[in-house]
């Protein structure tokens, strides 16, 4: 380590240091002063944290006019380092030809890396700002289309963020 020198303790303490008490008061002062600074602790769950657009919450599927953007190409599934995504494609009469009959993300596997969002050719899967994920069983942690589909309007912030940072 480059800074190893700094952590070696000096053998000779100064007089002030040897007196001990002044340093204690200095520490207490720092603590005391904090009381007059603005509070940053949230009273969760009454008060909730609203993450910025760059936050990577649980991945969700973008829904537009009642249908998912996803074409079930399976690229997110392939790129996912945690193998969290399972997609089963099928044919639709819509112009996009393919759609996912089944789209499941195993939230116990997901590591919130955002690779799925990055690889998606349709901007159909994005990282939302949802971070409240608690399950009582592993089965419950597998999110199907019912939980994944979110209307595009609700994902505006993230979609805008992606547009600007591409």
């Amino acid at each position: 380590m480059a800074s190893s020198k700094k952590i070696i303790r000096k053998k000779d303490f100064s007089l002030l240091q040897r007196m001990y008490l002044p340093e204690i008061f200095r520490g207490l002062m720092t603590t005391f002063l904090q009381m007059f600074k603005p509070k940053i602790t949230h009273q969760y769950p009454e008060v909730r944290f609203h993450p910025p657009a760059s936050f990577r919450g649980r991945p969700v599927l973008v829904e537009e006019q009642g249908v998912e953007r996803c074409v079930a190409c399976g690229l997110c599934s392939r790129v996912c380092p945690a193998l969290a995504i399972e997609v089963q494609a099928s044919e639709t009469d819509l112009e996009k030809e393919r759609y996912p009959v089944k789209f499941e993300i195993n939230m116990v596997r997901c590591i919130f890396c955002g690779f799925c969002e990055e690889v998606c050719p349709e901007e159909a899967i994005v990282m939302s700002n949802e971070y409240e994920l608690a399950f009582s069983s592993q089965e419950e942690a597998i999110f199907g289309k019912d939980k994944l589909l979110i209307p595009a309007e609700k994902l505006k912030e993230r979609l805008e963020f992606l547009k600007q940072n591409r």
Partner: protein
Amino acid sequence: MAKITIDGIAYEVDPKLTVIQAARDHGIKIPHFCWHPKLSVAGNCRMCLVEIEKMPKLAIACATQVAEGMVVKTQSERVQKARNAVMEFLLINHPLDCPICDEAGECKLQDYTYKYSIGYSRFNEDKVHKPKRIQLGPNVMLDVERCIMCSRCVRFADEIAKQPVLTFTQRGDHVVLTTFPGTQLDNPYSMNVIELCPVGALTGTDFRFKARVWEMSSTESTCTGCARGCNINIWVRNNEILRLTPRQNEEVNSAWMCDFGRLQTFKDVNSEKRLSGPLMRKEGILSSVGWDEAIAAAASELRLFKKSEIAGLGSAYASNEDNYAFQKFMKDVLGTKNVDFVRHLKEGDEDAFLLRADKTANTRGAEEVGVKPGEGGSNIDAIIQGIKNGSIKALYALEDDIAAIPEIAGVLSNLELLIVHSSIQNETTAAADIVFSSSTYAEKHGTLTNFQGRVQRIRPAVVTLEQDRALDGFAMSRWDKFASHNDRWGRPIKKDARPSWRIVSAVASAVGGKMKFNSADDVFREISEKVQAFKGLNYQKIGNTGVMSKTASRAVPVV
């Protein structure tokens, strides 16, 4: 022999070859779309342009014959530039369909785009749009936008399938592949154009959108649709067969297979009607029982009959190993000579190409390993007669729906005991007293002997309850490798089935006979020692493309 130089290395090649063939024979890959070793030369894609010294312009390697002293460069700057240009030209109107295209992952255009294109597009104008989702025939779909007009499919229909119904209409970038009015691509080999098509313009109606190619594992095996035994790959995801594709074997099927084999032979493996675990008739109703109970019951029931009252039917659908173990059990353990099997010939249902009239995969093998009457024993006709007149009271039948044959169906009710091996519920299992659920061809190791006398391997691609994909050395996809119990896809349906040779050996031991086989390999080792046709063969020698059995007179090459 002509002396030529390719990329600075001298080779001696047959002067009849073209440059692309000569290069290929020496492992030098020249990129190409329209050229195919099994089809005539069209020379229209221009991808195989190479530089030949003393020729003013670049030449297409597929239509240039080698000549003495020829110096070919396949990697020069001029060639690279030409490839870049061809790729750019092909991609101008090619849709950005890869995410929804079944070919993605095994697409020549994709691969070559990575290897030979400049990596970006200079084309800002609108792409030409053409019809999508066109049903070319019952089994093949066409997406004209993706077509690169290589004409491979047209030539296949003309030259190999002999059904010239495909053609191009329009000109320039408006060219459209289509069938002649009033015709469709419905020959028995139509689906070969799917692999032949270098892009995703032609896709299979059956497989369409089922899976991405990288999600499946593939296993080398043999088709069981008829006595030809075309070499195939079995593609599996989540323990389910999704498609079969032909595998090249010059001696058997060239590079092709028929649509029947491709579509129908694996449906039984995935079928809803699959049996899982043995069944036994209790108070008139077939009910599920454990293996030990069924095996013990079969043995004790069989012991009640005299040797001459028992008959055994092997199966032309079952492997050599199954049939060998079966006839050994019948003849050596039970001591009956009434052993034969049912032939399934459909006269007139063959052609001059691949299809055979014999609709089973292993007639020849069943005969060779000894599924035939012992001296003075009854053949199939005599067995039917015997059941009718009551001299045969117990029948043990291997993997064949014998009750679907009217002559046999009529007499089955005379039997006092019917033991059946079957992988699916059918009329025979409905009439049986004891049913053993047997593995399909896609769940076991084994060999089949085709009509030529070629011994070919089948390999397991689907796991049954007693197997483990990783521990038993199956082909594994990425999904198989990393599956855990809390993934839905990590819990595939596994059928409780066992290979027939194993079931038969277990029943034989329960009867008191000596039959100890631990693996298909074991059974085959004994076959190779005891049966003349298999002398000296083993699984390693059979390999991926099979070997001729010792009794085969000569290879019958593919037309």
